[in-house]
């Protein structure tokens, strides 16, 4: 059959014009591949013969690639008999990049070497490795798997996705038993929705709590949040709050900042500075409460119970712009 082709190719190639020969070349190429699938060794010399004949003198635009490519692909399938790894050489990568017709070529040639490796082996065998990250990702196909450029790229993509799904599984609580992308996605969606609802709910709560509190207490909150016991204002506690206040004030809350800077030197207990600063914040609108303020100060300093609720009520009253002495 090949020989028929051989002969038929010869005659028109010499006589007719360019058009026919291109088509015939393509046909011959396809048939060459098909026959290559059937048996390699037999057709070797025939193919080589074909290759020699094909590049007709007049028409060389398409051929040099083909011939080079042919030879490259001739060799690997032969060698691939021995090792069942399918190698993607550098030229193959070029081909992959250059044209997609060559992709078709690759498929068929490698399929023939696939047929040699009939064992569908497990995937512990040479795994897909991304050897170098150049423009193209060089991946090794696993044993018994398709070696398209397309399917390889898809496999890489799928593995990336599954890697991320695993990471998400760790993040989302209670997902260990669920396998499969669809179930996981459902869980993820539910979790994100529930987190957003929680943020809404908590912000509603904070909004209702807010008017009673002034956020100059925030430094105390910082202290509490990091679980420093806030029983009394012992020196260590005071120091820690002081440092935390400083760290907080890096943000640049200017009035509080200036107030604290002023009070750095003196042996002032920290709650007093807070009260001072809060007062100063509040004092700007209304200055009529000076005397009462000082009285309250003294009372607060003298009383050595927990100063936090005092402070809270004290400033809360300022917020409301009524001077309710809740003591």
């Amino acid at each position: 059959m090949l020989h028929c082709h051989y002969t038929t190719m010869n005659i028109p190639g010499n006589t007719s014009g360019t058009d026919v020969s291109v088509l015939e070349r393509q046909q011959a190429r396809m048939k060459w591949r098909q026959q290559q699938q059937q048996g390699l060794s037999n057709d070797d010399h025939c193919f080589r013969g074909l290759v020699e004949i094909k590049p007709d003198p007049g028409l060389q635009y398409g051929w040099p690639d083909f011939s080079d490519a042919c030879q490259d692909q001739l060799i690997p399938p032969l060698v691939a008999d021995h090792n069942l790894k399918k190698r993607k050489t550098h030229e193959d990568h070029k081909q992959k990049a250059v044209s997609k017709e060559n992709g078709v070529k690759d498929k068929k040639i490698k399929r023939c070497s696939e047929e040699n490796s009939t064992e569908t082996s497990p995937k512990e065998k040479p795994k897909a490795v991304e050897t170098q990250k150049q423009e193209y990702i060089h991946v090794r196909a696993r044993r018994g798997q398709a070696t398209d450029s397309h399917s390889l790229a898809e496999r890489v993509r799928r593995e990336k996705i599954s890697e991320r799904m695993k990471y998400l599984q760790d993040l989302v609580p209670g997902c260990n038993k669920i396998t499969g992308k669809a179930g996981m996605l459902d869980e993820i969606i539910n979790y994100v929705q529930s987190l957003q609802k929680q943020v809404e709910f908590l912000s509603m709560k904070l909004a209702t709590l807010q008017p009673r509190l002034d956020f100059d207490i925030d430094s105390l909150i910082m202290k509490e949040m990091f679980e420093v016991p806030a029983i009394g204002y012992s020196s260590e506690v005071a120091n820690s709050t002081y440092f935390q206040v400083n760290s907080l004030l890096e943000m640049g809350n200017s009035p509080i900042d200036t107030m604290l800077r002023r009070s750095i030197g003196g042996p002032v207990s920290i709650p007093e500075t807070f009260v001072v600063s809060s007062c100063f914040n509040q004092m700007q609108p209304g200055v009529t409460w000076d005397g009462d303020l000082h009285n309250l100060y003294r009372m607060e300093i003298q009383q050595e119970s927990t100063t936090i609720p005092f402070q809270h009520k004290f400033t809360g009253s300022y917020e409301g712009s009524n001077l309710k002495m809740e003591l």
Binding site: R164, Y167, L206, P211
Partner: protein
């Protein structure tokens, strides 16, 4: 509640700490800017707190992530539109502001639950709606952003819960 050493993110301590700082700072600013008295609408305040929460989240993460960039962008546009609203109190400008907002939102996926022409399942579409800024990302990047978003949301929720606990006990 939970000790600060609990790894909650890439850099275990700092995300939570930074979030607290930032959130408190934002809340402080909110309080100072507008005088929120007791009786004024709680809803308004709630919206502002929510905005502060998301803003602090986005600011802490910065421009590294698509979702944080999207949130920051939305906030900036919202500010611009509110400024427009304030300058001219005309209904036309109101429409203008609203149209600005609408123009800035993504129109890519209308509300449909079928499989997109891109091959996205209904779930991916939902996820894209939930996570800001991932409308035009491939599946791989989408999952990446979702993971980061979940991390930050979880820490934010923790911070807020701590705050609420503190305030309620005080």
């Amino acid at each position: 509640m939970s000790p600060p050493q609990q790894p909650s993110s890439t850099n275990p301590n700092s995300l939570k700490i930074r979030l607290t700082h930032r959130f408190l700072h934002n809340l402080n600013n909110l309080n100072k800017k507008r005088s929120n008295l007791d009786n004024t609408q709680i809803h308004q305040r709630y919206n502002r707190v929510k905005l502060a929460a998301y803003a602090s989240m986005a600011h802490v993460v910065g421009s590294r992530r698509a979702w944080s960039r999207a949130i920051l962008w939305k906030i900036r546009n919202r500010k611009v539109s509110t400024r427009h609203k304030r300058v001219d109190h005309k209904p036309t400008n109101h429409h203008h502001a609203r149209s600005i907002k609408r123009r800035t939102t993504n129109h890519s996926n209308p509300k449909r639950e079928y499989v997109d022409p891109n091959g996205n399942s209904g779930q991916e579409v939902k996820l894209r709606k939930l996570v800001p800024g991932v409308e035009t990302m491939d599946a791989c990047g989408l999952l990446d952003e979702t993971a980061d978003y979940i991390k930050c949301l979880a820490t934010q929720v923790e911070v807020m819960r701590n705050l609420v606990d503190l305030f309620s006990t005080i």
